[in-house]
């Protein structure tokens, strides 16, 4: 089977672009619905249930409402940048997902179609590059609003995203070292070859990545840029109607990209667990499903139903992370701003740096012992990473770094609170 080429390839590409765009918009719309239904479920309420069966048409009603509402333009806002802000926000959110493979290659009469919009050679770096451009939309809109709450939200957003990008990148390096490549297609293939999803041999990287991804998408407990109790709604305080809606779509599209990325990097992407019949990879001019004992490639048998099955599995994994986002949002309280920064720079950064060293040394030792890339290789890494993860969790969640506002009364030892007192004149008679 040959990869598709010529005019059919162009048509297939256009089809994939339109299909993925539509899918993202639909998933975004229904994630907002899921957010409200799940939050209602968690808080023992009903949630939206009036528009259509089970309230399923609610996102459409919301969309129509947002288009029909009046656009307000603050008198003191900088018009040009104020309008540009939402656009700069939504474009990176929608294009970042282009490199994520979403199913096994699909055989067609004209050739095999890779189920990824753009399998660029830099793979996951594309997501990071585009993601880092996403800050501009937030910062520009916060600044152009000429509103102190919006401006504070924008500053918080940029500081937070720059801080957590470091930990995100370092967690990613662990996966890159194990996979030996950056394209996401290859990442999926390497996880199929290892017989372990990277969430197990790189468990600490997985945890660090999930935390950083929450911070990067500005979701609770990291939603400092739009903390309602402090900043009205932060950078989009002055926005209304469809412009606000664009920020909303951008946030959920970011969530979806992050979920798809986490599923691909750490949960094997479209790989079906405990099965090898779905494995497929384009290797030296042919599609293979693996290597036999002698090291000769085994040709992959591609089928439309396999593509469909792998697509379903990929959707399930992405949906799991989207649910995790919602679950965490309605379970955890918001951090204080200094806690966010402390966690980012004093915990995440050193831990991820040390962990990269541990993983690199382990891989080096395993390579030196000439252990083949497979189940045993993954098992050793799983044990090593498991120990690191245990250490990390016991270190992190003991009120040492992040002390809550309430005084813990069930701990034996005193808790060191960060010194946040501002020196000032002593108040008499106090």
């Amino acid at each position: 089977m040959e990869p598709i080429s010529g005019v059919p390839a162009v048509l297939a590409m256009l089809g994939k672009i339109v299909g993925i765009f539509t899918a993202v918009m639909i998933v975004v719309a229904y994630t907002t619905y899921a957010e409200r239904r799940v939050s209602a479920w968690i808080q023992d309420r009903h949630g939206p249930n009036r528009v259509g069966p089970f309230g399923l048409l609610q996102p459409i009603a919301d969309g129509i409402k947002n288009i029909l509402k009046e656009e307000t333009m603050p008198a003191t806002a900088n018009r040009f940048w104020f309008v540009l802000g939402p656009m700069l926000s939504i474009i990176p959110a929608l294009v970042a997902i282009a490199v994520v493979p979403f199913a096994a290659p699909l055989p067609t009469p004209w050739g095999v179609v890779d189920m990824v919009v753009a399998d660029v050679p830099i793979g996951v770096l594309w997501v990071l590059a585009i993601g880092s451009l996403g800050i501009y939309g937030i910062v520009i809109s916060g600044w152009a609003s000429n509103n102190k709450y919006a401006f504070l939200g924008a500053l918080r957003a940029s500081a937070q995203m720059v801080s957590y990008e470091v930990a995100l990148g370092l967690a990613l390096i662990a996966t890159l070292m194990l996979a030996g490549n950056v394209t996401l297609t290859e990442m999926v293939w390497q996880q199929q070859q290892l017989d372990w999803w990277y969430a197990f041999p790189l468990s600490l990287a997985f945890i660090l990545f999930v935390i950083s991804a929450f911070a990067e998408t500005n979701r609770l407990p990291f939603d400092m840029p739009e903390a309602e109790s402090e900043l009205v709604t932060g950078y989009h305080t002055e926005y209304s109607a469809m412009k606000f809606s664009m920020f909303f779509i951008a946030e959920y599209a970011h969530m979806m990209t992050a979920s798809a990325l986490m599923a691909t990097l750490f949960l094997g992407g479209w790989d079906i667990p405990f099965a090898t019949w779905d494995d497929a990879y384009y290797w030296q001019g042919q599609y293979i499903s693996g290597f036999d004992e002698a090291g000769a490639p085994i040709a992959a048998s591609l089928a439309a139903w396999k593509s469909l099955a792998t697509y379903a599995v990929f959707s399930l994994k992405t949906a799991f992370f989207l649910f995790l986002y919602i679950w965490v949002r309605w379970t955890l309280p918001r951090f204080r701003y200094d806690q966010v920064m402390t966690l980012g720079w004093k915990v995440m950064l050193p831990v991820s740096l040390a962990y990269v060293m541990v993983v690199a040394s382990t891989i080096l030792v395993l390579d030196y012992l000439e252990i083949p890339y497979g189940f045993v290789f993954g098992l050793v890494l799983t044990v090593v990473s498991g120990l690191c993860t245990l250490g990390f969790l016991f270190f992190l969640d003991r009120d040492r770094v992040i002390a809550g506002a309430a005084v813990p009364h069930r701990l034996d030892r005193p808790v060191r609170m960060p010194d946040t007192r501002v020196p000032g004149p002593a108040i008499r008679g106090d």
Binding site: W81, P121, L125, L128, G131, L133, I140, A159, M341, P423
Partner: protein, 197 residues
């Protein structure tokens, strides 16, 4: 068809890059200048992609457009609001120095351009040993092409650059720290670095 498409893309990117660079210099608002600079850097990243230097393009966007420019934006928004640019204009002596430096660099570039004109090497898209580059990308991957020489042949200059950057970071920290102590209150978080004006 391929060559035409690439040439067209190159022309568009080159015009955007140069146009944005002019925008950086002539823009009145510092924020607008900064965004023009981001657009210029992004166009140059696009040119890197045309030259098959995918990794450089990604790093260009990630590091310069994504991280460094955001810090610039931060500083401009926090410190430079309400300033009149008139005070920042330099005297004629500085203008002469600037003219001399930029004229020198411009002259070298024009000289290089004129040298290449006669050689028949297509400007901008001329890849010396294009096939060799393709082969090594095939062999080492988009990252390996950079990483392999960087960590073998050029490891000493690479490490020296790293130490240089470390010195700069430590120096910045020392300067900022002294300012904070002189200025009184220390507020937590990232804004602490510029406390005490």
């Amino acid at each position: 068809m391929d060559i035409d498409l690439l040439s067209t893309a190159y022309s568009i990117l080159a015009v955007v890059a140069v146009g944005s660079a002019l925008g950086v210099v002539f823009g009145r608002s510092p924020v607008a200048s900064l965004l023009f600079m981001v657009s210029s850097l992004a166009s140059i990243a696009g040119i890197f992609v045309i030259l098959e230097a995918h990794f450089l393009a990604a790093i260009q966007v990630m590091v310069y457009a994504g991280a460094i420019m955001v810090l610039f934006l931060f500083v401009i928004m926090l410190l430079n609001l309400g300033h009149d640019y008139q005070q920042d204009l330099k005297g004629w002596a500085w203008s002469m120095v600037a003219l001399f430096v930029s004229g020198g660099i411009g002259g070298v570039l024009v000289q290089r351009f004129l040298d290449l004109r006669g050689t028949g090497l297509s400007l901008g898209l001329g890849l010396p040993n294009g096939n060799a580059l393709d082969r090594s990308i095939e062999e080492l991957g988009a990252l390996g092409v950079i990483a392999e020489p960087l960590y073998t042949t050029y490891v000493v200059p690479f490490e020296i650059t790293g130490i240089l950057l470390l010195v700069a970071i430590v120096g910045a920290l020392v300067l900022a720290k002294r300012n904070v102590e002189g200025g009184g209150t220390v507020d937590g978080g990232a804004a602490g670095g510029e406390g005490g004006r």
